[in-house]
Symmetry: C2
Subunit: 344 residues, 2 copies
Amino acid sequence: MEPVTPPRRVTIVDVAQHAKVSTTAVSKVLRNAYGTSPTMRAKVRKAIEELGYRPYAAARGMRGQTYTIGVMLPDIRNPFFPEILDGITDSFQDTDYQVLLGPGCNGVAAEARVTEAMVDRGMDGLVLIAPVSPRSHLERIAGLVPTVVIGRHGPSAAYDTVTDDDLAGAALVIDHLTGLGHRRIAHIEHHETDPIRLIEMPNAVRADGYRQAMHAHNLADQINIVSTTYTQEGGYLGAQQLLARPQRPTAIFAGSDFTAMGVLDALAEAGLSVPGDISLAGYDNTTFAALGQVSLTSVDQAGHHIGANAARLLQDRITDRHRPTTQIKLSPTLIPRRTTAPPP
Amino acid sequence: MEPVTPPRRVTIVDVAQHAKVSTTAVSKVLRNAYGTSPTMRAKVRKAIEELGYRPYAAARGMRGQTYTIGVMLPDIRNPFFPEILDGITDSFQDTDYQVLLGPGCNGVAAEARVTEAMVDRGMDGLVLIAPVSPRSHLERIAGLVPTVVIGRHGPSAAYDTVTDDDLAGAALVIDHLTGLGHRRIAHIEHHETDPIRLIEMPNAVRADGYRQAMHAHNLADQINIVSTTYTQEGGYLGAQQLLARPQRPTAIFAGSDFTAMGVLDALAEAGLSVPGDISLAGYDNTTFAALGQVSLTSVDQAGHHIGANAARLLQDRITDRHRPTTQIKLSPTLIPRRTTAPPP
DNA sequence: CAGGGAGTGGGTAACGTTTTACAAATCTTG
DNA sequence: CAAGATTTGTAAAACGTTACCCACTCCCTG
């Protein structure tokens, strides 16, 4: 019923014969290269159309280009990443490049596997979203393939970066809460010990932003941090710890929306109302936060812009590998919702 | 500072020279092919290790295999797909295959672009998750590359399929609701007109399951369907329509969790309590449903199993392209939560 | 001891595209 | 109209890997 063997692919040679030109000519037309007359272009285009020819990426790869962009994203479950991804894919929409994703990178080993696989597949450019790999690995990869890193502070000579201004984002939250009259504002952070990551990882920068903003509002004595993880469970445990401390905070700044979800669970369990007893703010403005039942005040990173900028930087670097690297920092905005209100 | 040009890749030739064997020998070791002595394997392995050699996928692709599996997923935002994806990637974890994702496929044109791109890149196998493309396109692709289709009912001679038993899933919901005492149970479906899709698409099968289950419970006269889309907005509009109809239902079966979120918004706006005034059930058991603030009764498709089965079928088909096709249907389970209760 | 099978290894020709070098044809310009 | 410059097209050589075929050595069997 179905063909026993898949039909042989139409190649550039078939096109050349059909159009009665050389294979070189076809190749030139495909790449919009120099040295083609309008007449020839027309002939070749017609032949390509009639034969349904499509260039074979593997063969192209052998000569240097695969027209493929690899995007590594750490956790496909985080509803913040799709925004970035859309920004990237939209930017490559009208180019010859195809974006492919490397999935499920939780941890250094998995990231290494995926990035190496992308290099092995001859990808023309890489976007690494919020990688946790050590800097040395990122720089090695960037030395092999044009690379843009998203969500990692600290400049590099090897790769361009695009980040959210997490320092400013934390300040937005504290400004908002102090504006409402809060003074006892606690923070739940994602635990970090490695000295380089304390400087580069967004979670560490957010915690730093919290401290700086509290200082700026003369609330240094109210600084109250609990250190868990950016997960629902981390938020749950973190909130429990906060409630066990002597002076109960009137507001909690959770480092991510995921964390905030866990906090909500813990507060409900403790019989506390939000925002009646305690105000709560998150970070990332995920789909969760926008749900009517949740309506969580959160910080919106301009995800689409982040992705679009990364795509632009990558295209620039592909055309000129030796251009000096760029660092772009994008400003977040606060989305006030129903989980924040004046203190009781 | 950084190397001006990326260093030339280590090739199989370098390895062969270093190990003092032929390139053929190296290739054989790499592929665990027949005709290698333990001594030679050791020599080659050592050389590979010392030189840090990695096979170049593009070159392999020219000879037929790229060791790459492509997964097309329609909407990265749907929190149900990660489960499937994990099932797939876990299954390929310990093989030489690398899984890559094709992103952002909303619509027939985008799906065609991504699938073609995957074929062009010489992928060894494809998994298409809930594709909306016409059947003819799916069969064409499957004729070129081993393919497994997830979430599309109806058998094909060209590709294997793995689906949730949506008929049974709908029955689970109706059984649960009638068991609680409900009789006026309405359903919000995703609108579908194309005759083939009415048979093949999961949303259509769910609606059908609703009808059949209502019949089975002698509630045929209570069948009450509103036709919108599987989105939050679709749920919102659908619920509004239902509330405007003469007899208000005591329970709503939303075709997806997304839809249910919109229903919750509309009910809250109408001043109705859940489950006090109206019970609500969704489908997919997404992360949303599990949130403490939402706690939505939903149907869980065994996502991980779906993915794992798809991976297994794909590997089987790669080893034997002419094996007859298989259709696997997996049973869903109901997860009762706090949005369903006896009618008022 | 001839014949032959099993176990090892290597030589070589693809695979489909782009790049480099160059020949032929056409156009400028003094 | 000659001499150079530009345009238009081609032939052939890579790129890194694998498949196919052949050669050689043992060792077994009749």
